[in-house]
Amino acid sequence: MNYINTLLNGEQGIFKADTLTPMQKITLRFVVVGLVYYAFAAIEGMIMRIYEITPIPIMNEKHFFAMMTAHPLVGIFGSTYMIVFGAFLFLVPFLMKKPLWSIKAANWTFFLITIGTIVMWSAGFLSHYAPLYTLYWPLPADFTQFSAVGGAVFIFGIALIMVGTLIFVVNIFKTIVYTPDGWDKQPAGALLISALGISGSQNIFRKNKKEHLVPLPVAAIARGTVDILLNALIITFTGVLILIYMLWEIGGISLKSTAIDALLYKNWFWWGLDLIADGAVLIFVAGAWYLLATLITGKKLFMENWARAALFVELVVSWTVWSHHLLSDQAQPGILKVVSGEMVTAFELVTQGLAFFITLVTLWSARPLKMTNPLKFLLGGLLGFALAVPCGILQADLGLNRILHNTQWVVGPHVHVAVLVGLTMTLYAAIYFLFPILTNGAKWYSQKLANFHFWAHLLGGIGMGAFMGMAGLKGMLRRAIYVDGEFNIYMILAGICGVFLLLAFLAFLYNIIMSVGINGALGIFKPAKLKTKDLLPAEGK
């Protein structure tokens, strides 16, 4: 009976959805939907892992590659964007000590990304639209392989996500600079300059350091959001271009694909994609590390002005590194390969290594620390990037790229370790930290499950990346099918690690459900009873 009671009402019945403010509810909705999409991506990942070992009869190549197209997009937009946007829509007003500019806009972001992701995923599932997320021209407009209607619906789903993203960008920047009702006029220009890190960079050279108007984590969020904005514009532009080909095809007119230069297209598309992969992700993660380190220790961040300046450098670096994706494109000018592809990319080692160092020193300064859930997941996230970033630097080398490009090495120890271990464990650290704040003090059901979540995720993530990397060094390509079991030993081992990841997530999900109860989880999606723009209920402040 006790078990049923906990399942329905949560650990000790502490969590009451009715006591949540609208801001707490919207944040929790983002996180819950983000976790549901994470489950989507994880299950798809496992199905693909099995298919890499042996093609299974329930699907064919078309379905496999449609899944491979949807998998990273669901992971990035449906899961990561949702969790990150939800957290930032709460954290920016929390750290700026003023209300969010618009809860209505936050709701629009939530609905558009939620619906856009399911539309995009469904179009891929039903029509097998599968140009992968790289969309190398003219593949997305190859209507001998893909349905124009399916593709158009797919692009429509992405468009909804981009609109939701643009609304998020506006909401973040307006929250930083606006003046809430009844407040003294806020210095919008100075706030913006501080948020973009310009004042932080100036401080390095000033004798008398100026006070920062914007807390460091908000500066990181603002700078990462600039990349989010530029990326959304590139994806929207590319989507419109592809959509034109699709709509004309549906109308019976086949446009010439040669009208678009494949190399130029690849350059602008990677420029846009790297704003996320090498920009927003690294900047947001560094900001999250700084925030968590200061919150966990209660200490000032080590070398704060350098941390601010590095975030600004990272922003500029992220605009100039795209060519490392074109090191194997022989028509790409050599100067771009060397300067952008190799040398500027190498500076990611500096910016991320600097964030790693600053975070560790800040933690070190507060010894002894209790090994809490946020701390252990933060350390996992730090390790993930410490493993994945040097991997990226190695493959962004002319000589090594010749034998690493498009192998499982790229997607294993670099991409999957960065995303699953580095990024996801940092997000988990934030979720574990914010959980009691967002739920007005709800208690975790089981610390043993949280421990299992940590170890299974860490070992599964690193192990999967390692075995994929080993297969890559033996010549296994990504985005390929091997039907004769050529790399089975590595794929079976990677699959076992994938099972660990899935079990880790199930343990986490179960722990959350038992902590807030089914009634509590459903209550998050009911309209808030409290009518306030405050982040927390009056007694919870």
Binding site: F64, F65, A130, L132, T134, Y136, W137, P138, L139, Q145, F146, D261, A262, L263, K299, M303, W306, Q330, A331, G334, V338, E342, M343, A346, L349, G353, L354, F357, L360, V361, W364, S365, A366, R367, P368, L369, M371, L379, L382, A386, P390, C391, I393, L394, D397, L398, G399, L400, R402, I403, H405, N406, P413, A466, K474, G475, M476, L477, R479, A480
Partner: protein
Amino acid sequence: MADSNDVLNGLIVVYTTYSILIISLVAWFSYRITRQGRGGLVKPSIFYTWVIMLAVLGVTLHLFTYNTIPWSPMDLNRADIKPDKVFEITVSNHQFQLPAEKMIIKTSEKVLFKVTSTDLTYGFGLFRPDHTMVLQMQVLPGHINDILWQFGEPGIYSIRSTEYSGPKGAYMVVKDAVEVTE
């Protein structure tokens, strides 16, 4: 000329050593921060040294590989190097169309593979019988895609598309297409 397997073996040693070190460091750090000790003793000079070391390491890596991996300078300067043999290959409708004569190369020869796509973006890769990769490049429609190579050891190599070009491209393999002799 050094073989790709030699370079990959070097990479395995370097990255495995680094991984063990960084995992050990984070594990040690995680243990130590839960113990009593003096904090806040890190001097800014250590930080500056760390930053400079990272910058030097990042740049040195590329200088090192440029001077030790033979195909790096050859690739950047290929327009000025006269190949001993040229093979022109066309890719169309997910099929490789090879030259009429069999591609036989000596290990002492520099060979230029010139690959043209008439429709989609493909890849061009050469693989050993044990599936390890010798080389690869992207093949973009409307552009010259050429790679200059000197093989390190004799053998029979297969061609495989190394870029996704839709589900139809999953099986773009030409077995035993290139023969390299002493």
